[in-house]
């Protein structure tokens, strides 16, 4: 598979070629001087993308950023005259999902950064998604309005009430077309259920419930009920001094509404069945690979912490990402993964430096392609990696503007580990650790990927001959 960037392949926040409405929104934000987030430097910080997610059809792509905003892209309908040009993604809607809050009781600020976005399957004309920050989950409805009523009797065109005494005739208001407007409204706010930081949300296959997981607890919600949730996992020890692991990610099984998994900072995955008991503290399956003693170091525990867990679309496998590897597990085999892929093993000797500059705590995500044959994850220097599970081949690609002219084909990159560096290779010491790709997404059925590189979003499509 060869990838090329779509024509408008990156969505830099300074890009003004967006639809009028959206760019106006962003410009307003950038220009408001009172907002401390909009100082020269903080504009950049607030724009860092923190989550990327395609919806179930792949028509929409949502991104969340550190400033609490959600930007949704929509794929253009392929037009008849340009049949060879694949649909491009354009901005569809932008809204402020979360604002910074302050917990007065604990004197803590609650960040507005969007940790995760998850789409609900579409059931009517509107789109629904869940977005969450550290403490609060919100259900947003994104709907289009392209008609508006005209011809009211009791109010005039500007909306002012008319004096009933002046009305001599009655008419029926008619719907007239208007410019398409996409509006996002918060339909539910699920708050005050988490003491610790929420790291995951996952919609259940029953489409009626979803779960939210923080460091120590997982809660089950019903979409209709915002003032209650069920706690289904609680690993908080009675004495916090005995704490040894935290929950790092959780996901529902794609087909079995009673099954979910959660990963821990110790590199283990637990599969739980909600039919077994109300509180799923006791797992049904426990996935752990024995540690390789030869690799032991001060940082063994940190690098074994799982940063992401994803079910395959088939529901048969789970994929986990720890700092240096991606592993694929068969649900039927708990004692070791069936496949292990080295993402950037050349970093193993640099763990101490990575610990010092905090890079070792980076939480990389991983994704499956639609057919579960290829897996993808990010790395440093704006590199991202793909592994083909069938052919066992892998490729390293770079998301950068210099290398991504529209229509240009992405060239595979290579990191030189030692010895002589070839012409196109990059040496480990030249890697830029501030450019990291933590969040990626793969279209559910086509070879289209979205890669978030700090505050830029790259969308690449498979080249079609």
């Amino acid at each position: 598979m060869v990838l090329q960037p779509s024509e408008r392949h990156y969505r830099d926040w300074s890009d003004r070629r967006w639809k009028g409405q959206e760019s106006r929104v962003l410009t307003d934000r950038l220009q408001s001087p009172a907002d401390p987030r909009r100082s020269v430097n903080s504009v950049m910080l607030a724009d860092i993308i923190s989550t990327v997610e395609f919806n179930h059809t792949g028509e929409l792509l949502a991104t969340g950023d550190k400033g609490g905003r959600v930007v949704i892209f929509q794929r253009e309908q392929e037009s008849k005259n340009q049949v060879h040009r694949r649909g491009e993604y354009n901005v569809y809607s932008t809204f402020q999902s979360h604002e910074p809050e302050f917990d007065y009781l604990k004197s803590l600020e609650i960040e507005e950064k969007i940790n995760k976005i998850r789409w609900l399957p579409q059931q009517n004309a509107a789109y629904f998604l869940l977005s969450t920050n550290d403490k609060t989950v919100k259900l947003w409805k994104v709907s289009e309005r392209d008609k508006r009523p005209e011809g009211y009797n009791l109010k005039d065109e500007e909306g002012r009430l008319r004096d009933p005494a002046t009305i001599t005739t009655l008419r029926v208001p008619v719907l007239r077309p208007m410019d398409l407007m996409v509006e996002a409204t918060p339909r539910r706010v699920f708050a005050n259920a988490h003491t610790y930081h929420i790291n995951s949300i996952s919609v259940n296959s029953d489409y009626e419930t979803y779960m939210s997981a923080d460091d120590l607890r997982i809660n089950l919600w019903n979409f209709e009920i915002t003032n209650q949730s069920f706690n289904i996992v609680d690993i908080k020890p009675a004495n916090m001094e005995e704490l040894t692991e935290v929950i790092t990610a959780a996901e529902f099984h794609p087909h079995h509404c009673n099954t979910f998994v959660y990963s821990s900072s110790k590199g283990t995955i637990r599969l739980c069945d909600m039919r077994a008991s109300a509180l799923c503290d006791r797992h049904t399956k426990f996935f752990e690979e024995p540690e390789d003693p030869s690799n032991r170091s001060f940082f063994s525990e940190i690098i074994s912490s799982i940063s992401d867990v994803k079910f395959s679309h088939s529901g048969r496998y789970i994929m986990t990402r720890d700092y240096l590897t991606v592993k694929v597990w068969d649900l039927n085999m708990e004692n070791r993964p069936i496949e292990t892929y080295q993402v950037h093993d050349y970093l193993r000797s640099k763990l101490c430096s990575l610990y010092e500059n905090d890079c070792i705590f980076d939480k990389f995500e991983c994704v499956w392609n639609g057919s579960d044959s290829v897996i993808m994850t990010g790395s440093y220097n704006n590199f991202f990696r793909m592994f083909d599970r069938n052919t066992k081949r892998d490729v390293t690609l770079e998301a950068s503007r210099e290398n991504s002219k529209p229509r240009a084909i992405l060239k595979p990159r290579k990191v030189c580990v030692g010895g002589k560096r070839r012409k196109d290779e990059i040496s480990v010491d030249s890697l830029d650790f501030s450019k990291k790709i933590l969040h990626t997404a793969w279209h559910p059925s086509e070879n289209i990927i979205a890669v978030a590189a700090t505050n830029n979003l790259y969308i690449f499509q498979d080249k079609v001959n």
């Binding site: 609650i110 550290d134 610790y196 001094e241 790092t248 940190i302 912490s305 610990y355």
Partner: protein, 311 residues
């Protein structure tokens, strides 16, 4: 040896991370701090596994900078080792002090003659095993450990914490406020009961006095896992903090940082405690406290090294 240096470095980096985490927006990240504390523990274990602890416990002049830490020579990477005289004072106040409480401190001060001895013995005694035992015991629920308090060896009164005291960094005592308090019984400045040691620092004297003999490991100085937090001002607050996003392992570090730890983890130091303020400037301003111990050299040492010293 390199491992120890590496371990040292990692310990100091880890402590720095934990300290800095309190200022982060959004509150303390439980996961990250848990991982950091695990690294801290691993490094510490490596550090303590040195086979020749006695190397620095040699009588007079060069008691190890860190009691119980069979540390490699001069705390490499920390800068110059304090002059022997200073050193004499150094460990002594070190050990007793982290002790938390006022009462202990007072005892320490009062039992001056005993103190040095205790301090020294303690110091001498800080064999890896003891320290590790302390570490293990440190993990026993406080309540249980609290029992061990009055325990042990003779003058252990002075250092009820025993090896555990060793884990208290002198650098960050909220005590930065008080003279000897700084190094020593600084931990609970909140306590008025804490003696206000004269700048002369009786402890220091004690240390000097007790400098000679030393080596017999303070037996028994059972690491008193004194519920340091209890006496702490908002004890309720401390408990509440546990409920907040704090790591349990990091809670162990309370023994290291003393009362200032809660201040560390509490987002707003203005939790009404003066020492929180002091602790903020703690590491940097540790110097004032150390003056009393007449160890100007300590000013030059990375403040965190003092924590490690106690470690």
């Amino acid at each position: 040896m390199e491992f120890k240096l590496e371990a040292h470095r990692i310990v100091s980096i880890s402590l720095g991370k934990i300290y800095n985490s309190r200022g982060q927006r959004g509150g303390i990240k439980l996961h990250k701090n848990l991982l950091v504390s695990l690294v801290l523990r691993s490094a510490r274990q490596v550090y303590l596994s040195d086979p020749c602890p006695g190397l620095y416990l040699a009588g007079s002049p060069v008691p190890p900078p860190q009691p119980g830490e069979p540390a490699a020579g001069p705390p490499a990477g920390w800068g110059e080792p304090p002059p022997p005289a200073a050193r004499a004072a150094w460990p002594e106040p070190e050990t007793p002090p982290e002790r938390p409480a006022g009462p202990d401190a007072r005892r320490a001060v009062d039992a001056e003659p005993a103190a040095p001895g205790a301090g020294d013995t303690l110091q001498g005694g800080e064999a890896a095993a003891t320290a590790e035992a302390a570490w293990r015991r440190a993990e026993v629920p406080r309540a249980a450990a609290a029992g061990g308090a009055g325990d042990p060896a003779g003058g252990a009164d002075v250092c009820p914490e025993g090896p555990r005291a060793a884990h208290r960094p002198c650098a960050c005592p909220p005590g930065g406020e008080a003279g000897p308090g700084a190094l020593s019984c600084a931990p609970r400045p909140a306590k008025d009961e804490r003696p206000v040691p004269p700048p002369g620092c009786p402890r220091k004297r004690g240390a000097a006095a007790g400098d000679g003999p030393a080596d017999c490991p303070a037996p028994g100085s059972s690491p008193l896992k004194k519920p340091r937090r209890h006496p702490e001002e908002p004890a309720g607050g401390a408990a509440a903090e546990e409920e907040e996003m704090e790591t349990g392992n990091v809670a162990n570090l309370i023994s290291i940082f003393g009362s200032s730890f809660s201040g560390l983890l509490r987002k707003s130091p203005a939790g009404g405690r003066e020492e929180a303020e002091a602790e903020e400037s703690g590491p940097e301003a540790a110097e004032p406290g150390q003056i009393c111990c007449d160890q100007p050299v300590l000013r030059d040492i990375n403040p965190w090294s003092t924590a490690i010293v106690a470690f």
